[in-house]
Amino acid sequence: MDLYKSMMISAAGMRAQSVRMRVISENLANANSTAEQPGEEPYRRKTVSFGQHMDRELGAEVVEVSNIRHDMSDFGREYKPGHPAADADGYIQTPNVNGLVELMDMRQAQRTYQANMTSVESAKSMMMRTIDLLRS
């Protein structure tokens, strides 16, 4: 049934956005995770990319998280001579997580999730209307 199908497509979209939310939380939680020893790397920001996937059972193209990669941009540097991971000059490397970027990503994930939710609700109400025809 097509309405059920459209609900499943929206569900796939919501699932993908949940994975994105999880990665964003991971990034934010580790925004201050530095290395434990000099020479080691601090936490590296993770990014999510979406791709299309043909669901043969459903007969429709659904969205899925195609892969989770690492953001290879430069780490920050901070002067902390007392830190266990400080190098000879007294600097430590800080994670390449930018709170603002994560916040914006989070907002976008939220909006798309809401849009999918609206779609599910709409499909549901259409289904209910059809069932109501039996009662008239």
């Binding site: 097509d2 459209s6 969205v63 779609s119 059809t130 109501d132 025809l133």
Partner: protein, 137 residues
């Protein structure tokens, strides 16, 4: 009795099938709202004009001056304005062309039209019941 034999039920059936399909296409667009390179999918509008046959022409009122409204074109021709494709050509840097607002409008529209179709269906079933003399009207 096969209800789809009656033109109104056949029409409503077709309309509802199309609206269901449209809902699916819109869901697909929304689910892929953040997929890089995804192009918005559009479903073709159905054409029911041939069902109307010769009654397409609306009756106007007699006019004695060209400044009179003839009842067909509407005030200052507002009803004859052709619909424009809204929001077209907005593509984000990652190549995604889904416009959330436009899709939301489509959802609302689909739902309204579906409600109308189901209500019309109900009304016609009621009319048939009335004709059968078993109440319902």
């Amino acid at each position: 009795m096969d209800l789809t034999g009656l033109p109104i039920f056949e029409l409503l059936h077709k309309k509802m099938t199309w609206l269901t399909k449209r809902q699916q296409v819109v869901s697909e667009n929304l689910a892929n709202a953040d997929t890089p390179g995804y192009q918005t999918k559009i479903i073709k509008e159905p054409d029911f004009s041939h069902y109307l046959g010769g009654v397409r022409e609306t009756l106007g009122v007699a006019t004695t001056s060209e400044k009179h409204f003839d009842g067909r074109s509407g005030i200052m021709g507002t009803t004859t304005a052709s619909p424009t494709q809204s929001g077209g050509g907005q593509v984000s840097p990652d190549g995604n062309s889904v416009n959330l607002t436009e899709e939301a409008m489509k959802i609302a529209d689909t739902q309204m039209q579906y409600n109308m179709a189901t209500n019309l269906y109900k009304k016609h079933v009621q009319m048939l019941r009335m004709a059968l003399g078993r109440g319902g009207g």
